[in-house]
């Protein structure tokens, strides 16, 4: 459902929707509603409460004939004025808990992929200094993102172009050591590393699936429909998590045949 639907904007251009605005808030200007949703998400408000706030705003504009901007003013200021509580599930600790299995999978992927060509050539595996540095930088970036999730999301909302450039720059900085420092530093036996990688990556997927939490924006008067959507989203997130081990196998095969 997310990022799939488009709605005609006020100026006739289609706007990509963050949620199913067609059923959540059919009478709100989609661009205003999207900014409102983003601002509430940035405050860590739970999806069900965002759904209620949207539905109430929708009911008001439908009854008054005003536009959302006329009735409520700027979406970010209105989101702030509602003073809705942050959901504990959106705390830095909870976000960190959700991304930890992904980081663990990243370590497993690196181990296994370094081990494959080494096993083929009958030598110990080497992990380049650059890969280790990149892993450390990515972990640091994730920690910063989890710790300052709200201000970062708000910054992205207020300065989308600058925010996107900053994020791209941060990722480039994280990955540059892998490209710059390819000389091997950390040496380890190939077979145990491959086995460890092959265990860690699927285990990470299972960890992700077991701790999967969904917080969809739901219309207050149709909980049944929301339950169906939640189940659909869980299925797609589960499928995504299960894809990672297959991705590892594909990359390992590629490394076996093509890695130097």
């Amino acid at each position: 459902m997310k990022f799939k639907e488009t709605h005609p904007g006020k100026n006739g251009k289609p706007n990509t929707s963050l949620a199913d605005l067609g059923s959540l808030a059919p009478d709100l200007d989609p661009a205003w509603a999207e900014d409102f949703i983003l601002a509430l998400r940035a405050r860590g408000v739970a999806g069900a409460q965002i759904g209620e706030a949207l539905a109430e705003a929708d009911d008001h504009v439908k009854a008054s004939g005003e536009t959302a901007a006329e009735a409520f003013g700027a979406p970010t200021a209105y989101a702030d004025s509602l003073d809705l509580p942050a959901d504990p599930g959106n705390s830095p600790g909870a976000i960190m808990a959700a991304v930890t299995p992904v980081l663990v999978q990243l370590v497993g992927l690196n181990l296994a992929l370094a081990a494959v060509p080494a096993l083929r050539d009958g030598r110990p595996a080497h992990l380049p200094l650059g890969a280790i540095a990149s892993l450390a930088l990515i972990t640091g970036l994730v920690l910063v993102l989890a710790g300052a999730f709200k201000p970062i999301l708000e910054a992205l909302l207020i300065r989308p172009v600058l925010g996107t450039v900053a994020m791209a720059l941060a990722m480039a900085i994280c990955l540059s050591p892998t490209l710059l420092w390819s000389e091997p530093t950390l040496e380890f036996p190939a077979l145990p590393a491959l086995i460890a990688g092959l265990v860690i990556v699927p285990a990470g997927s299972v960890w992700i699936i077991r701790t999967l939490t969904d917080d969809p924006i739901t219309p207050p008067s149709h909980p049944g429909a929301a339950a169906v959507k939640t189940a659909q989203r869980r299925r797609s997130q589960t499928a995504l998590a299960l894809l990672v081990p297959f991705f590892l196998v594909a990359l390992a095969l590629f490394n076996w045949f093509f890695a130097p």
Partner: protein, 140 residues
């Protein structure tokens, strides 16, 4: 802010809580109906950006409780009703407002020198009922 230019917005800010509580006290109602009732009462219709944060605060303070009704083809409608705490708050604020309005009227309509004398102030504090007869002659 409230639309009606006849009343200064800082006056209306002071009485909006009380008037909204009073409208909800009449029975379960929803945001736009509250705005329409305020307008019909001559106070002007508050913007949604003023009204809903206030209703949210009432709900957090347990002055009102809410219930969603399913909407036909739409996401539904949120109805507010007064809690016992809200009823108590309305009663006490109404009594306080009546006293305050009388004090303001006295201040505005009596001889300013007399109104500011310590004797008058003491009389005001000790016996608010003595000024309840003052007629409010100011018009919007």
């Amino acid at each position: 802010m409230i639309n009606d230019p006849a009343w200064p917005s800082n006056w209306l800010r002071g009485v909006l809580d009380l008037c909204v509580l009073r409208i909800i006290a009449a029975g379960p109602t929803y945001g736009y109906a509250i705005a329409a009732a305020l307008e019909a009462a001559g106070l002007g219709a508050p913007k949604g950006g003023t009204l809903y944060p206030l209703l949210g605060r009432f709900e957090r303070d347990n002055w009102v409780e809410s219930q969603w009704s399913a909407g036909a083809g739409g996401p539904g409608r949120k109805f507010y009703s007064l809690t016992e705490t809200g009823r108590g708050e309305l009663a006490s604020q109404t009594a306080r407002w009546s006293q305050f309005a009388a004090v303001v009227s006295t201040c505005l309509l009596q001889n300013p020198a007399a109104a500011s004398s310590p004797k008058t102030a003491a009389a005001r504090d000790s016996a608010p009922q003595t000024i309840s007869h003052v007629e409010l002659k100011a018009q919007p």
